[in-house]
């Protein structure tokens, strides 16, 4: 057992030479740190201001900082084992902050933690050294664990190349902890204590200048990044002025984008969950961020050099389904979607993106009313055939058909089923005589011109019809109407039909059965809207809920989002097939969806499996149990 008859690991009697040497080393280390950190800081500050950025609401920012930074909630929740290890290292660092300050102060003969002292200061000193020791121990164990993972387990998303720099830093952290803990076993004036002090000091002073040009820059930046996030999930910024077309060149990089680019810790969680990257496509969200960082390093902000080309490829950027798994996962607050969509905006708003399918989609939506390029008269015919009431301002709800609900034969079945549910509930609703695509695909593909046209035209239609509440079967419509249209007006209240039905679940037929139904979380309902329980509640009154291995926040995309449903054949494996196989493997006899795009993607994908389960939207799952006389 050691005791505090000596001032733990703090040799009090440094010679002047040692003090001078120490001071010189501190100055050198700090100088080197600032020499390297300063250009980064300048690049971030030289980037343009973020349009539409508000610090308010501050409360949410503080909470996110507390939860994600201090509590490490995301780090742990999404990768529990390495997450906890990381948290221990992080907390170790926090606990060490005071120790380290004291350590340096001691070197200059002005130490303030005095475990041998009397009264409170002595008590506190003793307490704190033991407190820090506990963290040092867990930190040391954790860093060894992380080292083993990186160098021996080698998960794919950490990249193919081993980062020796990371190994060296792990060694320094380990050394810091060991030299601290070792001091407990020495006496104050012993040469060992002196040696440990110097080793500890040197580890620290070597570590400091390594921070700015390694991924450990996140130690400094990511707390700021998390605090200064754009705000909401996939929050696409407004265009600042007439010369802003999105992320075209360095001059378009904003402070937040640059800050995020430098914050990346290269953990690869984004890549691990990216549907495009998992199916053999070029896109790697981590590389998008690192590409921007390299651009900033080599070229810098406020330049006219295109962002797409050497550092990031247009091909990769247009392979994104905007499922948002990357942004959701990112532990350091990087918002991938505004960046990827920003790069698309840059390419589309300037006409640099040339794609047969994309061009066709844009032309269709410039002229026509829907993304499928079908005559609006077909929608009229469907409404007539189903004898849907037309919205005239007297009904409570406007039932928004959307492109899929209005034109896709399968989507129409969902609308019809949901209409039956509303009839059963006695809800008053009507459909609009005319509606246009909400603009979701063009919004995600970065075509601000067509998106604005569609949003404004629709807002006008809704205002003319005095619509107050909308219910829609398509999570893409819901998202776009509620969030994206805000740039051009005030959209009415809107909810997804799963939320609507869940509110009235007690009035719907309760027929739980053994039928195993696997529910697929649509990205735009789950990650974008946080609706996970409502559809599950509905599934449970008609069958037995089965979960896919990747579910809720970690659900795997169907491949349709981000306008990709309209861009023709994908390269590599089809995302929909990968997900369909996963759903089939659950042994469920029914696949429940809550998005007409997921539905259409899975239709073919499930048919290609050996034992295709039936595919039904939650509205269809409910409607099938309705009494027959309601089926008009």
């Amino acid at each position: 057992m050691f005791s505090f008859h000596a001032t733990l690991a703090e040799p009090q009697h440094f010679s002047l030479l040692e003090k001078l040497l120490f001071a010189a080393l501190v100055i050198a280390s700090a100088g080197l740190f600032f020499q390297r950190f300063d250009p980064i800081l300048r690049k971030i500050l030289k980037s343009k201001n973020d349009p539409g950025f508000h610090l308010a609401p501050l409360g949410r920012r503080i909470w996110e900082f507390f939860s994600e930074v201090l509590l490490q909630s995301k780090v742990i929740a999404q990768r529990p084992l390495p997450g906890v290890a990381h948290a221990f290292v992080f907390w170790g660092f926090l606990a060490f902050a005071l120790v380290t300050l004291n350590h340096a102060a001691v070197g200059l003969g002005v130490g303030f933690l005095d475990p041998t002292g009397q009264g409170f200061s002595g008590w506190f000193g003793r307490f704190y050294f033991y407190f820090a020791a506990a963290f040092a121990l867990t930190c040391a164990v954790s860093i060894v664990g992380l080292f083993i993972r990186r160098f021996f387990v080698r998960p794919r998303w950490l990249g193919e190349k081993l980062s020796y720099e990371s190994g060296f830093i792990a060694f320094l952290i380990f050394a810091l902890m060991v030299t601290y803990l070792g001091a407990f076993f020495t006496t104050d004036a012993s040469p060992t204590a002196r040696a440990l002090w110097w080793l500890h000091t040197l580890s620290l002073l070597i570590f400091l200048p390594l921070i700015p040009h390694t991924k450990h820059l996140h130690l400094v930046l990511s707390p700021v990044t998390v605090f200064l996030s754009r705000g909401e999930f996939s929050d696409i910024p407004p265009l600042a002025n007439d010369d802003d077309f999105g992320l075209v060149a360095g001059q378009d990089l904003t402070k937040i984008v640059s800050l995020q680019a430098y914050s990346c810790v290269e953990c690869g969680r984004c890549t691990e969950h990216c549907p495009a990257n998992n199916t053999g496509k070029v896109l790697n969200p981590k590389e998008i961020i690192l590409g921007l960082r390299s651009y900033l390093n080599d070229i810098g902000p406020a330049t006219e050099e295109p962002l797409l080309g050497k550092y990031n490829s247009q091909e990769a950027v247009f392979q994104c389904t905007t499922c948002g798994a990357c942004e959701f996962q990112c532990p350091v607050g990087i918002e991938h979607l505004p960046i990827i969509i920003g790069l698309r905006r840059g390419a589309v708003n300037t006409g640099a993106w040339e794609d047969d399918y994309g061009g066709k989609l844009f032309n269709q939506l410039e002229r026509g009313s829907n993304a499928l390029g079908i005559s609006a008269l077909e929608r009229d015919k469907f409404i007539q055939k189903e004898a849907f009431p037309v919205f005239d301002g007297t009904q409570e709800y406007c039932l928004w058909l959307g492109c899929m609900g209005g034109y896709d034969p399968k989507g129409r079945e969902i609308i019809s089923a949901f209409a039956r549910v509303m009839n059963h509930l006695g809800t008053s609703y009507g459909v609009l005589k005319k509606e246009k695509c909400t603009g979701d695909p063009v919004r995600r593909l970065g075509n601000d011109l067509v998106f604005q046209q569609l949003a404004e035209a629709n807002l006008e239609i809704l205002a003319q019809n005095n619509v107050k509440k909308i219910v829609a079967i398509c999570p893409h419509c819901v998202r776009t109407i509620q969030e994206d249209w805000k740039a051009y007006g005030t959209p009415p209240e809107i909810e997804h039909h799963s939320e609507f039905m869940a509110r009235f679940a007690h009035l719907l037929p309760q027929k739980p059965s053994d039928e195993k139904i696997v529910y697929h979380d649509p990205c735009y309902l789950g990650r974008y809207r946080n609706v996970y329980d409502e559809p599950r509640q509905l599934v449970q009154i008609t069958g037995t809920l089965v979960e896919a291995p990747r579910n809720k926040e970690r659900s795997f995309c169907c491949g349709a989002g981000g306008g990709l449903a309209f861009l023709g054949e994908e390269s590599g494996e089809r995302v929909s097939h990968v997900r369909a196989q996963e759903l089939v493997a659950t042994g469920a006899t029914t696949v429940g969806t809550a998005c007409p795009f997921c539905n259409t993607m899975f239709r073919d994908a499930l048919a290609a499996t050996d034992t295709p389960p039936q595919l039904l939207d939650i509205a269809q799952l409910i409607a099938r149990n309705l009494p027959a006389h309601n089926s008009q």
Binding site: L372, G373, I374, P409, G568, E569, D604, A608
Partner: protein
């Protein structure tokens, strides 16, 4: 003496079917107006064509012949007909509405300070000429309101050529004066898109097959049908996914977008991905055993039945109709 002139075209060495239909339109107009009906053939060597025309019930056949009318050029045809119509005043000049007529008849009419009433689908008393507007969503009634000749072209199929009566008309020749310098365009020989590359987007007729065919071994069934029709073969995505047909034959959102005159969908249920690729077709025929298949929603004609019975029967019916 004023007359009705019907300008006949050649196709494969004979008067084309649509030209006979134009002659039928001329006959109807002749009955209405009691004007003599004359048939006109144009070229560098028109004897055989003139003989064919003279075997119909017409008052006379005119051969407009010149060495420079060897191949069609708008300058040659416009000049020749302009000279002819100047020398032989016409009340009505009737054309078949072909690509060739669309290329020169408006210029010819303009040269005579007239406007062609094109793509006519019916002639009523008056005469009032009916033609489609807004891509078939409206019918418009046109009248000629001038002293000069009235130029009219008639749509394929609008008049029945099989009702033409036989006759034996006299044949005369008109020799226009044409200088080589007048012919400003140099036409090349007609060619087809290369057989190696499948260009569904320019195919006038398409037979498309879907999942209903069940196995690759059944494909010859639809191949025979396509051959009988002279159509290109296409498919929905699952067929191409399975490798039963090459990817370039895929119609739909991830394949090609087509707009043929005829799209015959066999065993295709009509998923939206497929519909968006073919909905612009002029005429859609669906054969499917499921009466609720969405393809019937967009089809002009549908047969609900087993494709393994219907397709061979259709192949036979087409062969015997040709």
């Amino acid at each position: 003496m004023s007359a009705i002139f019907v300008i006949l075209e050649e196709n494969g060495g004979h008067i084309s079917r649509i030209s006979w239909e134009a002659l039928a339109a001329g006959t109807a107009l002749a009955e209405q107006t009691s004007l003599p009906l004359h048939a006109v053939v144009i070229g560098s060597s028109t004897e055989a064509l003139a003989a064919e025309a003279a075997a119909k019930q017409v008052a006379a056949v005119i051969r407009i012949e010149h060495a420079l009318l060897n191949a069609y050029t708008p300058d040659g045809w416009t000049s020749a007909l302009h000279q002819f119509l100047t020398a032989n005043p016409a009340t009505y000049v009737i054309f078949p509405h072909t690509y060739q007529v669309r290329d020169y008849a408006p210029a010819l009419a303009a040269r005579m300070n007239q406007v062609l009433i094109g793509d006519v689908t019916g002639i009523a008393a008056g005469p009032v000429f009916t033609r489609q507007l807004l891509q078939g969503r409206l019918n418009g009634s046109y009248k000629h309101a001038s002293d000069g000749p009235c130029f009219v072209s008639v749509q394929a199929g609008a008049f029945r050529a099989d009702a033409l009566a036989v006759g034996s008309a006299s044949v005369t020749t008109f020799a226009p004066t044409i200088e080589p310098s007048q012919i400003r365009t140099k036409p090349g020989a007609p060619f087809r898109a290369s057989a190696q590359t499948v260009d569904l987007s320019s195919a006038p007729l398409i037979v498309s097959v879907g999942r209903g065919i069940k196995e690759a071994d059944n494909l010859p069934l639809v191949q025979d049908l396509a051959a009988a029709l002279g159509a290109e073969l296409a498919a929905s995505r699952p067929i191409c996914d399975n490798g039963w047909l090459p990817m370039e034959r895929q119609v739909g959102s991830s394949g090609q977008t087509v707009a043929p005159k005829l799209y015959l969908a066999v065993g295709i249920s009509g998923a939206i991905q497929h519909l968006v690729g073919m909905k612009a077709s002029q005429c859609i025929v669906a054969i499917n055993k499921d009466p609720d298949a969405p393809i019937f929603e967009v089809a002009d004609y549908g047969i609900v039945g087993d494709l393994f019975e219907v397709v061979p029967a259709l192949t036979e019916a087409i062969k015997s109709a040709k």
